[in-house]
Assembly symmetry: C2
Homo-oligomer: 255 residues x 2
Amino acid sequence: MVAARKLLRRAGRDRAGRFLVEGAQAVREALAYGRVHELFLTDAAAARNPELIDAADRAGARISPVTERAAETLSETVTPQGLVAVCDLLDVPPATALGPAPTLVAVCAGITDPGNAGTIIRVADAAGADAVLLAGDTVDPHNGKAVRASTGSVFHLPLARDRDAAAVLAACRAAGLTLLVADGHGERDLHDPGTAALLAGPVAWIFGGEAHGVPADLAAAADHRVRVPIHGRAESLNLATAAAICLYATVAARR
Amino acid sequence: MVAARKLLRRAGRDRAGRFLVEGAQAVREALAYGRVHELFLTDAAAARNPELIDAADRAGARISPVTERAAETLSETVTPQGLVAVCDLLDVPPATALGPAPTLVAVCAGITDPGNAGTIIRVADAAGADAVLLAGDTVDPHNGKAVRASTGSVFHLPLARDRDAAAVLAACRAAGLTLLVADGHGERDLHDPGTAALLAGPVAWIFGGEAHGVPADLAAAADHRVRVPIHGRAESLNLATAAAICLYATVAARR
């Protein structure tokens, strides 16, 4: 329990190479796609989820009954479900995540809100992306809020983390991807016919921080800066909705 | 202050016909597009925002200096800015919001999370929608969290509220709109060529609740149920990102 509690913080996760996954749905995904070492659960959670205990047992995970109070100390939610798994960290090196011939990749460059990062991972998964790369000062995708916002998608596609954002972009370019920065002031309109032709080819979409967007040096190094057109009086879109629009415009361009 | 504090709750807002707008950006939008009756502000907020005091004065609003502590009792945020305006409610009847010949409308049918409702209003604004209609058991768009998530967009386009969701759909149909329900299990793919032809005409997109989607009777009454295609292993998209994808696919179909 003491060791597990340290996984609530990024430094503890990085040191142990493990993270926490909370709730029945996420634990189910972890057992299906990840590597689970231990499953903490209350009697009530055990009674509600007998199939998860069987699956954890088959996966060779240790099953550890805990009190409600102990389960709460591992939980980051308002209404804990009494079910928390300890899993191996998911990230791999950027080149491994990219694979030999990626066609659609999402890069988070400086995203600090874990809910936004998790939502972008979920949308990238839904759009059929090959990988999500978390570059620069981006939040850890193993953060509890990010895992929850991803609703299991952190387990579905390769993730990589690298503080060196320029190196991440270089890896994308080496993998044959055209680099597109989502930028409200970009020189290209997402809906221009020329952009659709671009999106039909292999691309990496780069999404920046909530306040200041993609750092200027990275934006300048990309091939194109693309804006989602604003037709009303809104000043901008929020990060997760803009990312969803860009990723799905790419899906549409390939039909 | 006592009267203003009652506006923190829906019943109080509906009784008074007024709501609260918090923070410099939102108050600026309220002064530009809404009707402001009173502006509560701390000395520090006044020093930071002299132009807002001038604008409130020109708008005929009462300027009421308050202490930090009093400002906090009107605030719903973790870090209050010391700046809260009392404004007239924004909603109009559905037929008024729709106007004579709408071409793109968003309908929220049973959305309970104010952040989702506000984000959909923001995206609808950005997509150039004619109106947002809040139908059935949908959260009040004058809720503080909804106002904040909209980042000013509640002031930018007509809003209507009506508990009778069937009547809202009937009003949309009478205005010449084709009714499309966003539904993960819909019979039409958003990216099918036939759907693009549909989206080029006047449409109302209907977005349902977070847990169960659009109520079955409303979904059956619509003209088409449209799914955002899922290409990876994600089970679904979250409501606000799905709405963004649908609304911007409509914008793209009109280029």
